[in-house]
């Protein structure tokens, strides 16, 4: 109980530090909401007047604590740039995109990497293992902007399989939604496949040396059965940890993919708002991203201790 309270306290401190850091950093950025609002055809006085009206001339500390006060009342404020929407609703729609991309990418990555890891672990250092290892290494070494460009060149421009850009929400039809999400999802999944494969393969190899596997083998069980029914479950703890961390990290860190495919996710929301000096939106979005990260991490910790008997034993 006390440990839980400590965790919550630490979570709050982290959030506070993140918001303070974001606020100071964003206010140092060159973006100017007055320019974002007025464009490039007004008199210098018009900009000065608007800056005053937006409260941009007030001291930084004051602005921060005003903002913080509103947050404690559950109000993330409105965007400083027209059409001045609620920050909460902006984040809600961007978050939906990001979470869908992240979850789909993780599913795709798992679908590819679980069989790949099993094939590799069957004969460690065998031909297939080495081929898989070299391939995952290769994939791991391709930055997402390069793999994205390659995929666009092949799948969009040559084969016309997917749309080039744009996003269709789930509410506008699942088919269209998946059709638009496919290419970005593959690009993100490529980033995750190597890690997943390597982690799972390592644990599988270790598990396969354990007594219960040896005895199963001695009973004459087919190799694939042992792999799937006996070895997989006890080998998946690290994978689950990595999965959780990836999910936490993917929300907001897919800026490149979002930029490449013009997707309205959290990453682009933060970056484009920051370039306009739209500090309320940046603050809100980074706060939500950080909260997700911290909460998912805590969740992974918790789950880990529940499902892994070793940890429980150590804890007891």
């Amino acid at each position: 109980m006390k440990a839980a309270a400590g965790k919550v306290a630490q979570l709050l401190v982290v959030m506070f530090l993140v918001s303070l850091g974001t606020f100071s950093l964003t206010s140092l950025m060159p973006g100017d909401p007055a320019v974002a609002i007025l464009g490039d055809n007004q008199s210098p006085e018009a900009y000065a007047e608007l800056r005053e009206k937006l409260g941009l001339n007030e001291p930084l500390v004051e602005r921060y604590f005003t903002w913080l006060g509103h947050v404690f009342q559950g109000d993330l404020g409105t965007s400083m740039v027209p059409p001045n929407e609620d920050v909460t609703s902006l984040i809600r729609s961007a978050f939906a995109v990001s979470i869908e991309l992240a979850v789909l990418a993780l599913v795709v990555a798992l679908v590819v990497s679980i069989p790949l890891a099993m094939i590799s672990a069957r004969r460690p250092d065998g031909l297939l293992d080495r081929a898989a290892s070299a391939t995952t290494f290769g994939i791991m070494s391709v930055p997402s902007f390069v793999s994205g460009l390659v995929l666009i060149a092949l799948l969009v421009n040559q084969l016309h399989l997917f749309p080039r850009v744009g996003w269709v929400g789930v509410t506008d039809g699942l088919g269209q939604n998946l059709y638009h999400a496919a290419l970005p999802v593959i690009t993100i999944a490529l980033l995750e496949i190597p890690t997943f494969t390597r982690v799972l393969r390592g644990d599988l190899v270790r598990t396969l040396q354990e007594d219960f596997v040896l005895s199963a083998r001695a009973k004459g069980m087919p190799a694939w059965r042992i792999m799937i029914f006996d070895a997989f479950r006890p080998s998946s703890y690290s994978l689950i940890t990595v999965l959780g961390l990836s999910l936490a990290q993917l929300i907001g860190s897919t800026v490149i993919v979002e930029t490449l495919f013009s997707l309205p996710g959290m990453g682009r929301l933060v970056v484009s708002s920051a370039s306009q000096g739209n500090i309320t939106v940046v603050q809100g979005a980074v706060l939500v991203i950080a909260a997700c990260y911290v909460l998912i991490n805590a969740g992974v910790d918790l789950m880990y201790s529940v499902i892994d008997p070793r940890i429980r034993r150590v804890g007891a």
Binding site: Q10, V13, V14, M15, L17, V18, G21, T22, L25, T26, L28, M29, P30, G31, R122, R123, P124, D125, G126, A134, F137, G138, M140, S141, V142, P143, S144, F145, V146, L149, V205, L208, Q209, V213, L214, R217, G220, M221, P222, A223, I226, M227, Q249, I251, G252, S253, V255, I256, T259, G267, V270, V271, A274, S275, V286, I289, A290, Y293, V294, N297
Partner: protein, 295 residues
């Protein structure tokens, strides 16, 4: 059918001599990095064509495709600057920035990690909170923010990138310190009356730092990619100073379609380098893990 397959499942059944085989891939990667680093260091002496100053290339052909026998073996870009030369000078920037970022990260992260792991208690909690704070903001977003605030110079870029490496290094060095602190040599040192600082800096630091070398190599490759990503987004180091990322960026907006070499030359070099660092780190980790086991 099942018997041989089942037998194959046992990794212990491997003949030991196969380990002795030469690792071609590793050698290939090592050679690539060696050549690249050597070229980067000796770049001014290689008699390369102009890489940066467009004032000197007003008469050079532009967008020349690669042709190995010619004066521009990898072609030229929009300003008539030599791609080979830009790749090598770009390597100078990309490698210096990412390697120094990792060094800074290792120094700062390593020190904090060892202190946290050795002293535990309050210090550990404070450092842990700071680590979590840095981790809670996605690395690329943090970098984008820093890159727009700081003036884009190699030093600033290295500092910003080191922030990405620091939290991970704190965590690993802390964990390793916890492990090492139980070891005999530490207990002995303490029994001999060594002060805290001595134990931390003389006994723990060298051992812990050595154990994170493979991870550092992987970080180098990750930061090369991060630096390239920033340049690609147009907020990293700017032309005329070449970096691999801004070279790839030059091919966007329709130019890649007509002059693919603008993109695939730097992309291939970036890939090979990142691949090599990753592989080196991985192989080193394997070797050391084994040593650990045999100890």
């Amino acid at each position: 059918m099942s018997a041989p397959e089942a037998a194959a499942l046992a990794p212990t059944a491997r003949p030991a001599r196969r380990r002795r085989r030469i690792d071609l891939l590793l050698w290939f990667c090592g050679a690539w990095l060696a050549v690249l680093i050597l070229a980067a260091i000796t770049a001014p002496m290689l008699g390369l064509q102009e890489a940066q100053d467009a004032a000197k290339t007003l008469l050079e052909p532009v967008y020349q495709p690669p042709s190995l026998g010619s004066t521009h073996p990898l072609g030229t870009n929009a300003l008539g600057l030599d791609m080979l030369s830009r790749i090598i000078y770009g390597a100078r920037v990309s490698l210096t920035v990412s390697i120094s970022a990792v060094l800074i990260g290792t120094f700062v992260g390593g020190t904090l990690g060892v202190i946290a792991g050795y002293l535990r208690g309050k210090v550990d909690r404070v450092i842990g909170t700071l680590t979590n704070t840095l981790l809670a903001v996605p690395a690329l977003i943090l970098l984008v923010a820093l890159a727009t605030v700081l003036r884009p110079s190699a030093l600033n870029m290295a500092l910003a990138l080191s922030l990405v490496a620091i939290p991970g290094l704190i965590r690993v060095t802390r964990a390793n310190t916890l492990a090492f602190a139980q070891r005999e040599f530490v207990t002995v040192a303490r029994a001999l009356g060594a002060g805290r600082a001595r134990v931390v800096f003389r006994e723990l630091m060298p051992n812990v730092l050595l154990s994170v070398v493979p991870m550092c190599l992987v970080y180098v490759s990750a930061l090369i990619v991060a630096e390239a990503s920033l340049s690609f987004l147009g907020i990293g180091l700017r032309p005329p100073q070449p970096t691999w990322g801004n070279m790839i960026g030059e091919g966007l907006n329709g130019k890649m379609e007509d002059y693919p070499h603008l993109v695939y030359v730097p992309a291939a070099v970036l890939f090979l380098t990142v691949f090599s660092f990753n592989l080196l780190g991985e192989r080193m980790r394997k070797r050391w893990d084994k040593r650990e086991v045999s100890l």
